[in-house]
Symmetry: C2
Subunit: 409 residues, 2 copies
């Protein structure tokens, strides 16, 4: 094989969809178009499954407008998957890559997908097949190591900041209805998503009042005390919780066999913490409680997508292609925050083996001592990621008329 001949590039989307993973594909395609070293630009249908099944699409055949509009299209346009390569799949992967002369393989995904990319890089090296494998970070969970943050996270954070703000306003407005609102966010193992709800608060005493992350053991009694304390002061409590909350023993709060399903990587699918806690508040504190749980809507909301996130997702796609063209392999693109007052990120590279399968938790410095809120340090970290400021709402002065009558009960 002559390495100077142009070779084909294959891009795959993997894991849970986000609002911006399609923007990464646009970045890949736009950048690939600029390089003579790249011949065909292909997309795998449903990630690595598309490779195994030889379901590959020709992205040069797409209307340029469709490619551009992917930047504003949520979910995964090529299709995604959760599939762990079996040893018996390896030969097939190599067979398909060889048949289509794929010289560059780019996989956008989270820590499981980076493991798949690492395996393919290993495999190609062992078989002396000339292949550049690059990972593009993508996960609303924001739990990839090394990178400052992950494309997808800024948008899910913006969604949750807006949702928690709107839902808090809703809770504050009604004097005689629900007085404890629980908002359950995604986050199987880490609390990054839940933490972002803190951006909803623009003034003291606005919601959310309490935020619980799975990085700290969740203690039911302490939780009830926390809620009661806020309730006595404000008569309204907005609590944001992570679907993956765990107790002192490290077990999921809602680990009932019936409610839980398991995906191919052996991860248990959760849900129901918010309802459980709402019932607990009602029964133990005798305060009405209600739970909002937007579920997957939060990770694919283009209406609430962050412009910064869309741009960064695009740029990491471009960076992956540039690395391929330079003959780099076995790396994932990272975002590196530049020092300075104005927020900006450069792109960097990290070995796939250093990020595959690993998870980055929310650090202690981002969680308060009481384990029931985030710190200013976290707010400073997350604020630039959600892009434009939140929409401005009106605050009335509410100048009261002088009372002319005695009080009334």
């Amino acid at each position: 094989m002559n390495i100077h001949l142009p070779r084909n590039l294959l891009v795959a989307q993997s894991g849970g969809p986000t609002a911006v993973i399609n923007s990464s594909v646009t970045g890949v395609v736009d950048e690939a178009m600029r390089h003579q070293k790249i011949a065909g630009i292909y997309g795998a249908v449903n990630g690595i499954l598309g490779v195994l099944r030889e379901e590959l699409v020709d992205l040069r055949e797409e209307d340029p407008v469709s490619i551009r509009n992917l930047r504003r299209t949520p979910s995964a346009a090529l299709g995604s998957c959760r599939y762990k390569l079996r040893p018996q799949d390896y030969a097939r992967v190599m067979e398909v890559l060889t048949a289509h002369d794929v010289g560059h393989f780019i996989c956008a995904g989270g820590n499981d997908s980076m493991e798949t990319a690492r395996e393919i890089d290993d495999l190609a090296e062992k078989r002396r097949y000339d292949l550049n494998v690059m990972g593009v970070p993508k996960t609303v969970d924001n739990d990839l190591l090394v990178t400052d943050h992950c494309p997808g996270y800024g948008s899910v954070s913006r969604f949750n900041a807006i949702a928690a703000r709107d839902s808090s306003l809703d809770t504050e407005a009604i004097y005689t209805a629900d007085t404890v609102k629980i908002i359950e966010t995604m986050g199987r193992d880490t609390g990054w998503i839940t933490a972002s709800t803190a951006l909803a608060r623009t003034e003291k005493d606005e919601g959310p009042h309490l935020i619980y992350l799975p990085e700290r053991p969740f203690l039911l009694d302490k939780f009830l005390q926390d809620v009661d304390l806020v309730y006595r002061r404000l008569r309204k409590v907005v609590v944001c919780v992570c679907e993956g909350l765990k107790d002192e023993k490290g077990e999921f709060l809602t680990a009932s066999d019936k409610a839980i399903d398991t995906d191919r990587f052996g991860h248990r699918q959760l849900g129901g913490v918010g309802d459980y806690l709402a019932r607990l508040v009602s029964s133990k504190l005798n305060i009405k409680a209600r739970c909002d749980r937007p579920g997957t809507i939060q990770r694919v909301s283009m209406t609430c997508a962050s412009n910064v996130d869309i741009d960064e997702a695009y740029s990491v796609g471009q960076a992956a292609v540039r690395a391929c063209v330079e003959g780099i392999s076995g790396k994932m693109v990272t975002l590196v925050r530049k020092p300075g007052v104005e927020y900006s990120c450069a792109s960097g590279l990290v070995d796939l083996k250093d990020v595959a399968l690993e998870k980055k938790s929310v650090p202690d410095s981002f969680i308060n001592e009481e384990s029931n809120y985030v710190t200013q340090g976290f707010l400073d970290y997350v604020r630039p990621l959600i892009g434009e400021s939140l929409p401005e709402y009106s605050h009335l002065k509410k100048k009261m008329l002088e009372r002319l009558l005695p009080p009334y009960d």
Copy 2:
């Protein structure tokens, strides 16, 4: 009392918040400013409770920018309540209105709030107190009689159309994860909100595939058959259900024993309808299922608000003031759809007694024969209410590369 002297106007917000009930207050204030017959422009804090407690604010003291920005501020800025007047409250209501020389009382709310307005109108007439009482329609439930639709409904419909579309794309994208998505919407007694999710579908076979409203008895076996049928054809099913689904006996689905699960603490779990049906699909059909339930977020989402809805909420506020100034009382403003190709509404009036407490269900002509989807008639009804078209997403052609290898399992 000299009826030619300018008198004060009092506006109250009542019932569940919406994205646009504040726009109605802007309409009321802006219109009231134009009339010499109106002296003070007051707002009741937390609806009728603010009257009872004599908690009234002076809206002429607000910054005009704040009043204008209310049009883009969700929830209820004056505060709302759910409170039914007790007979012993009547005297106090009259006392407060008299003390502050309120000559015009405008209440924005749903069918319960219209009953409160009707009672106050009755009361004033009996006590020969000169008062114009006007109702302003407001409810995401869209269940007020006579009016073509209710301000608040267009915006919750837009939210749900977008959410169902995004969530459907999410479900379609992942080949090896959740394959049945259940989206639970609000709507305790009527299916208007749930029905609006049908707007998510822009092409055949896109989600939602099934929609169930409380206007028809929900039959579990039929539901499972429906899901199975779609699943066999598409391998993906998106189902939208109303929180208020009822069985053949007219009982709420989640009030049945079947819906009760027990968590690991031994507490009985009474999940929502969506969670219950997701578990049912998993256990009976052995297909992975997941439920999204945005809850109150759907009714106060300004990011997804309908521009048509914001404008109409404003206009019904204005119309109520004009009616007051003309000396009309005991009426609710209605929206009257004009015939013609281009959508537009005029405002009308209806007696409060004809709308108070009553609920308008989704008519038979808007539900298909199988009771598992809406009709074109409903789509034609609802489409103009959500304002601008949904954001355009990219659709790739996905031209497949020629297969060079044998199939692989």
